[in-house]
Symmetry: C2
């Protein structure tokens, strides 16, 4: 059965600008923003660790580390170095001078987003720290696009990073403990990514953004992130589709952040229940990151998971004309170890952007 037989309308003729401005969704509680002057993507860089470099899409990444510690004494310092490398590379790729960057928006998974804070210290540039777990990249892109579209800043840099060794220490157990992983677990991606947006340029544009709501379906297992995040992805996807009148077939590609194999299967089912058949145009970055032989079970996770794939594989295909309109839903689990130890469930969120060539 082809996906054509299930999606709701045969003729997809989506015009976001028209449908939303004339839309029937009331202003209040509307989650999707249409950018009046959509910013261009003018620079990007992805850096990944050794394991990610050996995965199925390893050849797309701009830099693959041969030492996940990068010669540093601590994994935290390696993460800082990796994010710095991604930012420097993206600025170089954009053709801008570092002094032409007006604003850095960055976040990561560590307590008090320290990686981003310590990286921002090295650039004498206005800085906004954000926290949205693995959905950081799209939150940053939404904010940057708002600033640029409103004419408040011209060149804005969005970045994020995660590191397997620092994330395990922060969220689960120290690596030395050698804790056994359940089959539904995911593997935090070691990587960093940066996107440079600008009011000027010729690159693809971010035309819309959807700000997610916090959704909690009651999952308590710190290892089962995919199942926890799938309902949040559904919530934001429905918001984007309903508020703009779009359907899955209006997009050449729909990507989610890091639901993994299990989580993305759950999302497909949830969306089918809602009358939207995602079909082959839907991929999940967590699901793509590792080969089954790499023993990462449900796949990748972490703020860098979708951010590195978006800035390499996905943008490559947008730049070369394979895809013209892509919806990118990064997904984040908003718990801390403290809250889970205290018996709390895991609230999740998904922010989205639409990129058009």
């Amino acid at each position: 059965m082809s996906f054509k037989t299930l999606h709701r309308g045969e003729n997809c003729s989506f015009s976001p600008r028209q449908t939303t401005i004339a839309g029937k969704i009331p202003y209040t509680q509307r989650q999707t923003i249409i950018f009046d002057n959509p910013p261009h993507i003018i620079g990007r860089m992805s850096v990944v660790g050794t394991k990610e470099g050996k995965g199925p899409i390893g050849r797309y990444f701009h830099r693959v580390l041969d030492d996940d510690k990068m010669g540093e004494k601590t994994f935290e310092n390696a993460e800082i170095k990796m994010l710095t490398s991604a930012i420097d590379g993206a600025v170089y790729n954009s053709g801008l001078r570092p002094s032409e960057i007006d604003l850095i928006i960055s976040g990561d998974l560590l307590n008090q987003v320290t990686t981003s804070n310590y990286v921002a210290r090295n650039y004498h540039v206005p800085y906004l720290g954000v926290y949205s777990a693995c959905s950081t990249m799209t939150e940053a892109l939404d904010l940057a696009s708002t600033f640029i579209s409103a004419g408040k800043f011209k060149n804005v840099l969005c970045s994020t990073a995660s590191h397997f060794a620092t994330a395990e220490r922060t969220y689960r157990y120290p690596l030395e403990y050698g804790c056994q992983r359940p089959p539904y677990a995911q593997w935090t991606v070691t990587g960093a990514a940066c996107t440079v947006l600008s009011a000027n340029g010729n690159g693809p544009r971010i035309t819309m953004g959807t700000v997610g709501k916090v959704v909690d379906f009651g999952t308590t297992d710190l290892n089962n992130m995919g199942a926890a995040m799938a309902p949040a992805a559904m919530d934001s996807m429905l918001a984007l589709f309903k508020e703009t009148g779009a359907e899955p077939c209006d997009f050449d590609l729909i990507i989610t952040g890091d639901l993994g194999k299990l989580g993305s299967d759950i999302l497909r089912d949830l969306m089918t229940e809602q009358g939207y058949y995602l079909g082959q145009r839907y991929i999940d970055c967590g699901n793509m990151m590792y080969d089954v032989s790499q023993n990462c079970y449900q796949g990748g996770s972490g703020a860098a998971c979708s951010a590195t794939i978006f800035n390499s594989f996905v943008l490559d295909k947008i730049f070369d004309g394979t895809y013209n309109r892509v919806a990118y839903f990064a997904t984040g689990a908003l718990m801390s170890t403290q809250s889970c130890y205290q018996g709390e469930t895991i609230p999740c969120i998904s922010h989205a952007v639409v990129i058009e060539r």
Copy 2:
């Protein structure tokens, strides 16, 4: 000597709109945003703990707790309950229905900003998590004003919270350890605050925002926050003054977040060195929060310190006409315990907003 004798120009005739649009500061690296359609402050609420309620400005707060644990099993849950109380109160004060809130921007001091995440779970409203330590309130106000000014959201809620017991556990030592505090230490404020901004209304307006840069002068002592943050406050204050052509006498009141007694004395010295005499129009929220008899040494700190005072004492005085133009610089220290244990210094930041009646 009156402050009049030291500040640079006798005739202060600051017109922000005129000076900035016609300003000579290049677009690139400009930190100050002028909001084209300045949002109104239409609702607010401050909630504080017992100790803060007994302080010199205790009578200004809207709610003073009689139990800092609020009947909850954990201090973390008390912080969540306190922030919920502030949000509900501010929405009620604004005259809006909860369903009319379009966006929540919130952050706090806990790992992974869990307080804000868990509070946002209870409101089915788009949510953006931010992290800027004790400078969270002004980062949120800057973002909210940008969204409203650009016409993307109408009613936006900015909130933050901190709790002495959860912050000590997160940043320093467990309370049970009974660690002795050095004389230059500050006391994390137990409190929560919320401001509701709207495109419509009659309240005071947020006319400008300054996005801070990360500044690190090499302080390593987790207890000496005032000294670490003063240079960041200076950096943002100089940016606002230089980019708009303003001088201290153009403001009826200049407030900083939580530099405390020591930090605010350092800031006065730093600004005098730069040719700006702050004089009596400058106050620090950390310095105001406690009486010397309360044994809090240099004063209050924490995200709620300036946020609660801004939403009570300061806005009261703006609403009643005592002050017509106020500059509010919240200051944040961006370290984590992990980074300090690894020998890192403390990077700091200060975001600012200008409120005009």
